[in-house]
C-alpha cells in the first residue's frame, strides 16, 4: 500500500535504497512515500510567491530598453505627471555595487546613465506604486534618451570572448590519415525557453536591521544571497533569502532570480515597504535567460568497419549580452561534444562570445544537449554512409570500462553505455522496425510527386520512421566545481526529539522534499514521516550548493546520508548501542540537540586540472539511450512523435515514480526542442515572446514515453546515485531527428525540425534549414 503523507500515520520506508526493477509496479508509488508537498499542491493550499500576502506591499515593475545596443544618455520623466505617487529607482539608488554577482562582474542591475545598453529588454529603471493601475499609466511616461550603437548579433563575428577551451588527445593528422571515410557536418541549434509555468516572482521585505528578506521562486537561495550582499552592501544576516513553493525551474531559475531579487530589494529599500515583483509571461520570455544557441562543426574519421579514429569538433556558443554562467555551459557542452564514444585522436575547440541579445544561461542539460545533438547526427550520418546500422555503429564505439575520454579520464567504473544501448534497441525492437521503415522508404523513393524525392506515393499520406540516439552526462559539477563549492548539508536531532534534514536543496517539482527524508529515514531506521525537511531559508540552512547540475540526489543526498549515519552512530553510542529509533527521543531529552554538519569531501581518486583541462572531468557519467518513433505527414511535413523509449542509467533509483517523472518530463522537453520550440529574433529582439507564439508540447503533442531505469552505481556516492534530471534532455532530440530521416530520407541539421525545414529539405533546398552549410565530403571513398 502506498504511504500517505496527508493522513497522519506511520509508514516505514521498508525498502532499502536498492530497487529491484522487477519488483516495481509501473506508475504506482507502491512502497515509496508519496510526494511530501503533494497534498498541498493538489488542494490549492500550497503558497507560491504570488500567492503570498504582505499587507501594504507595493507593486514593482521594470522599464526596459527597446534597443539591442545603445548609449544611455538620459532618463527623462514626463514633467506633466505627478510622480509623487510612485517610487522611481535607477542605478543611482543601488546601495552597493551595481553588479549582479555571477562568474564575471559584467552585468549591472540597472544600466546607469552614461552606460551602455547591451540588449533588448535590458532593465534601466524600476518603478513601484501602491496599485498596478498607476504603474500601467505611468510606465510609458518615462523616456530613455539613447544614442544607438551598432549591435553585434553574430556570435562568430563577435570579438568579445567569454570563454575559450581546447581539449586535445592523440594525433589528429595520424587519425585522419588512417580513416577510410571522413565526414564533415555543421549543426545549429537555437534558443530554447525553459518555460516553467510559474513566472519569475520575488517579494522583497525590508527588515528592522536595515536588511532585506526575499521571498521568491528560485533554485539557488545562496546565489541570491550572495548577489544581495554585494549589490546592497549587506552582511550575511542582513540579507535573508527564503525560497517559496517554486513552479518549475529547469535552469531558468538558477541565476536569473538574483536579478529580480535585487530589483525588488532596491525598490523596497527606497520605498521602505515590501515590494512585489511578479513577472507576466510576456516579460518573462522577453527578458530572462534561454538555452545557448550553438553552432557545432564536426570532422569525423572512421574506418570502413565503423571504428572512430578521429574527431575534430568546434563548438561556438552565443552567450548573449552578459556572461552569466556561459563559461561553465560551454565547458560542459565541449566535454560532451564527442558523444559517448571512444576515439583515440580528438580535438575539441570551444568558444563562447558576446552578442547584443538577452543573456543566455542555464537550462537542463547545460550545453550538453546542443553538442550531443550534433554528435549523434554525425554518428547517424556516418552509419548511413557506411551502410552500418546506427545501433551497430554505436555498439562498436561506445565507451566501455577502462576506456579513456578526451581529457584523459579513465572510466574506472559505472559505465553503462552498452547496457542502455542494448536495452533501448531490444525494447523498441529497433532493427526489425527499422528494416520495415527503411523498406517502406525505398518503395516511396521516386514514386512521389517530386522526382527522386520521398514525398507520398499513392494512398500513403504519412510515413513512419524510427531513430536512435545515445548520450552520456557528467554527474555533478564539472571539473573541480564541487571542491570549490564545499557544500555542507545537515541532519539534526532537535532538543524536542524531532529529526530534521537541513540543506539549501530546493524543491521545484523534482522531489527533493520527498527523497531527502526518505534517504535519511532509511539510514536511521525510522518511518519516513518522522523526518522533517527544513525550509530553504538562508537563516536556517547552510549552503549545500545550488540545486542544479542533477547534483541534488547525488552530491547533497550523499552528504545527507553521511550526516545521518554519523547522527545514528553518535546517538547509539551514547545509549549503549540501543537502536536509534528506540533511543533518539530519550537521547534528545537527556542531551539536548545533536546536529551533524557534513561537509563535502572530494571523491576519492578524482582529480581535474582546470588550467590544462586534463583529468577527471566528472566523478562519473550517467548514460542514456532513446528510441523515437515518428509519423511524418508527407504533404505538410508535420511530425507526430508517437513513441519514445527512454533508457536512463541513474546509478541508483531512490524513488522510482519521481525518477520516471524526471525522465518523462526531460524527454518531452527534448521532443519540444527537436520539433517545435524556436525563438525567432529580429535585430536582437525575440519576436515570439508570448505563449501564443512560442509553442511547447501539449498533451496532444506528447508521445507515449516508456522509461527504463538502469542502475550502474557510482562507488564515490554512498548510495551510488549519479543524478537524473538532465540526462533525458541530452538524448531524445537527436533520436527524433533520426526518426524523421528514417521516414523521409532527409537530414535536418538545424533544430527545431519544423515542417518548413523538412519540406525545404525534401524539395532538395538548403540542407535542412536556414543558415545550414552542411557538407558531407568523402575525402576517400569507403572501400
Amino acid at each position: 500500500m502506498p504511504t500517505r503523507t496527508l493522513t497522519p500515520g506511520v509508514e516505514i520506508a521498508e525498502r532499502a535504497l536498492v530497487v529491484d526493477p522487477g519488483q516495481r509496479v509501473p506508475g504506482r508509488a507502491s512502497g515509496f512515500p508519496l510526494r511530501r508537498e503533494g497534498p498541498a499542491k493538489l488542494t490549492g493550499a500550497a503558497k507560491y510567491t504570488d500567492d503570498l500576502v504582505f499587507p501594504g506591499a507595493w507593486y514593482g515593475i521594470t522599464i526596459r530598453s527597446t534597443e539591442a545596443r545603445a548609449k544611455l544618455l538620459a532618463i527623462e520623466l514626463d514633467p506633466d505627471v505627478d510622480w509623487s505617487r510612485v517610487i522611481i529607482a535607477t542605478a543611482d539608488d543601488i546601495p552597493g555595487e551595481n553588479i549582479v554577482s555571477m562568474i564575471k562582474d559584467d552585468q549591472p542591475l540597472l544600466v546607469p546613465v552614461g552606460g551602455e545598453i547591451r540588449h533588448h529588454a535590458e532593465p534601466v529603471v524600476l518603478l513601484a506604486a501602491a496599485d498596478r493601475e498607476t504603474l500601467r499609466l505611468l510606465k510609458g511616461r518615462i523616456k530613455l534618451v539613447t544614442e544607438p550603437l551598432e549591435p553585434v548579433l553574430d556570435p562568430e563575428r563577435s570579438e568579445h570572448v567569454f570563454a575559450e577551451y581546447e581539449v586535445k588527445r592523440g594525433d589528429l593528422d595520424l587519425g585522419f590519415a588512417g580513416a577510410d571515410l571522413i565526414l564533415e557536418g555543421e549543426y545549429r541549434v537555437g534558443h530554447q525557453e525553459q518555460l516553467y509555468i510559474e513566472n519569475n516572482a520575488m517579494i522583497a521585505v525590508p527588515g528592522g536591521d536595515g536588511g532585506i528578506v526575499i521571498h521568491g521562486s528560485m533554485q539557488c537561495p545562496y546565489y541570491v544571497h550572495k548577489a544581495l550582499k554585494r549589490a546592497l552592501g549587506m552582511d550575511s544576516v542582513q540579507a535573508r533569502v527564503i525560497q517559496e513553493e517554486t513552479g518549475g525551474g529547469f535552469g531558468g531559475k538558477e541565476e536569473f532570480p538574483s536579478v529580480l531579487a535585487l530589483h525588488a530589494s532596491v525598490l523596497a529599500l527606497k520605498a521602505r515597504r515590501a515590494v512585489r515583483m511578479i513577472y507576466e509571461r510576456h516579460e518573462d520570455i522577453e527578458a530572462t535567460t534561454k538555452r545557448h544557441p550553438a553552432i557545432v562543426r564536426h570532422r569525423t574519421g572512421v574506418t570502413k568497419d565503423g571504428v572512430l579514429v578521429a574527431q575534430d569538433i568546434e563548438v561556438i556558443m552565443d552567450g548573449g549580452a552578459y556572461c552569466t554562467l556561459t563559461p561553465v555551459v560551454l565547458s560542459r557542452g565541449l566535454l560532451h561534444a564527442g558523444g559517448p564514444y571512444r576515439c583515440p585522436n580528438v580535438r575539441l575547440r570551444g568558444k563562447a562570445t558576446r552578442t547584443n541579445t538577452p543573456p543566455n544561461g542555464a537550462f537542463r542539460g547545460f550545453g550538453a544537449p546542443q553538442t550531443e545533438f550534433a554528435a549523434e547526427m554525425q554518428m547517424n550520418r556516418v552509419a548511413e554512409r557506411l551502410g552500418i546500422s546506427p545501433a551497430e555503429l554505436r555498439r562498436r564505439n561506445v565507451y566501455k570500462l577502462k576506456d579513456t575520454t578526451p581529457t584523459g579520464q579513465v572510466l574506472r567504473e559505472s559505465v553503462a553505455g552498452e547496457e542502455v544501448l542494448e536495452q533501448g534497441v531490444a525494447a523498441a525492437n529497433f532493427e526489425r522496425v527499422r528494416e520495415r521503415t527503411s523498406g517502406e522508404r525505398s518503395e516511396r523513393l521516386g514514386s512521389g510527386t517530386i522526382p527522386s524525392g520521398s514525398l507520398r506515393a499513392g494512398d500513403h499520406r504519412t510515413a513512419t520512421g524510427i531513430g536512435l540516439a545515445l548520450a552520456w552526462h557528467g554527474a555533478g559539477f564539472t571539473g573541480s566545481g564541487e571542491v570549490y563549492l564545499a557544500s555542507v548539508a545537515s541532519v539534526e536531532l532537535t532538543a524536542d526529539g524531532r529529526l530534521r534534514v537541513l540543506t539549501a536543496g530546493t524543491e521545484m517539482g523534482q522531489g527533493t522534499k520527498t527523497v531527502f527524508p526518505l534517504m535519511v529515514a532509511n539510514e536511521l531506521g525510522v518511518p519516513v514521516d518522522w523526518v522533517e525537511y527544513a525550509p530553504q531559508d538562508t537563516a536556517e540552512v547552510l549552503d549545500s550548493g545550488p540545486t542544479v547540475a542533477s547534483r541534488t540526489v547525488m552530491v547533497v543526498g550523499g552528504l545527507v546520508i553521511l550526516a545521518a549515519r554519523k547522527l545514528k552512530a553518535a546517538v547509539e553510542e551514547r545509549n549503549a548501542g540501543a537502536p536509534f529509533h528506540e533511543s533518539f527521543r530519550d537521547d534528545a531529552r537527556a542531551n539536548g540537540a545533536t546536529r551533524i554538519d557534513q561537509k563535502f569531501e572530494p571523491y576519492p581518486g578524482v582529480t581535474f586540472d582546470d588550467s590544462t583541462y586534463l583529468g577527471d572531468a566528472y566523478p562519473a557519467f550517467g548514460w542514456a539511450s532513446a528510441v523515437a518513433t515518428v509519423e511524418v505527414d508527407l504533404d505538410t511535413c508535420e511530425v507526430r512523435v508517437l513513441d519514445v523509449i527512454a533508457v536512463d542509467d541513474v546509478g541508483k533509483v531512490i524513488h522510482p515514480i519521481l525518477c520516471e517523472g524526471q525522465v518523462e518530463g526531460g524527454t518531452l522537453q527534448a521532443v519540444g526542442y527537436a520539433t517545435m520550440e524556436e525563438m525567432k529574433l529580429r535585430d536582437g529582439k525575440y519576436l515570439n515572446d508570448r505563449l501564443a507564439t512560442y509553442l511547447i508540447p501539449t498533451a496532444m503533442d506528447a508521445p507515449h514515453i516508456r522509461t527504463i531505469l538502469v542502475e550502474a552505481p557510482y562507488s564515490g556516492a554512498p548510495h551510488g546515485a549519479k543524478g537524473v534530471g538532465e540526462l533525458p534532455m541530452d538524448v531524445a532530440a537527436p533520436a527524433v531527428v533520426a526518426a524523421i530521416h528514417d521516414a523521409t530520407g532527409v537530414w535536418i541539421h538545424d533544430l527545431p525540425a519544423t515542417p518548413e525545414r523538412i519540406l525545404a529539405a525534401m524539395h532538395g533546398l538548403d540542407g535542412g534549414g536556414a543558415g545550414s552549410r552542411l557538407r558531407g565530403v568523402m575525402d576517400k571513398p569507403a572501400a
Partner: protein
C-alpha cells in the same frame, strides 16, 4: 464598480468590482482563493482553469460581469466533502499516487480540466483524455502520469 453575486465552491460570494475585472483576480485577490494560478494571462496555458457552470474556462479571460448568477468551482472546491474528512478526493488521490503533480503550478488547472472530463462521463481511453487536457500546459511531467492518473479514476475498479 458594481456588485456581482455568484456561487463559489458551493458558497455564495458577492464582490464589488469593475465589470471587466478578471475572474482570476476576483478569485485570487478579492476572495483569497489563490489555488487558481496565473501562467500567461492570455488563455494559452490553462493554469487558471476553473469550472463555470461545469464547463472549463480560463479565469484570465472571463470578466467578472459574465459570472453573475453562475456557479464557479475552483481547486479549493474540488473535494469539499473529502476535505472535511481531511483527505483528498479520488482524482487528487490518483494524481498523488501516480506522480502526476511535480512542481504543482499547472496542477489546479489540470485537475479542473480532468474533473470536467470525468463529470461529462469521460472514459479511460488515452486519446480523449489527452484532448481534454490539451489546453493545460505542463512542463514537468511529459503528461504520461497525468494521463495515467485520469484514466485510473475513469476506470471503475471492480
Amino acid at each position: 464598480m458594481s456588485a456581482y453575486r455568484f456561487l463559489v465552491n458551493g458558497a455564495p460570494a458577492e464582490v464589488e468590482a469593475p465589470g471587466m475585472r478578471r475572474l482570476l483576480d476576483v478569485l485570487r485577490e478579492d476572495l483569497g482563493l489563490t489555488g487558481t494560478k496565473e501562467g500567461c494571462g492570455e488563455g494559452e496555458c490553462g493554469a487558471c482553469s476553473v469550472l463555470l457552470d461545469g464547463q472549463v474556462v480560463d479565469a484570465c479571460l472571463v470578466p467578472v460581469c459574465q459570472v453573475e448568477g453562475r456557479i464557479v468551482r475552483t481547486v479549493e472546491g474540488l473535494s469539499l466533502a473529502a476535505r472535511e474528512r481531511g483527505s483528498l478526493d479520488s482524482l487528487q488521490e490518483a494524481f498523488l499516487e501516480h506522480g502526476a503533480a511535480q512542481c504543482g503550478i499547472c496542477t489546479p488547472g489540470m485537475l479542473m480540466a480532468a474533473r470536467a472530463y470525468l463529470d461529462a462521463g469521460g472514459g479511460p481511453d488515452e486519446e480523449p483524455i489527452r484532448e481534454a487536457i490539451a489546453g493545460n500546459l505542463c512542463r514537468c511531467t511529459g503528461y504520461t502520469k497525468i494521463v495515467d492518473a485520469i484514466a485510473a479514476v475513469a476506470t471503475p475498479l471492480d
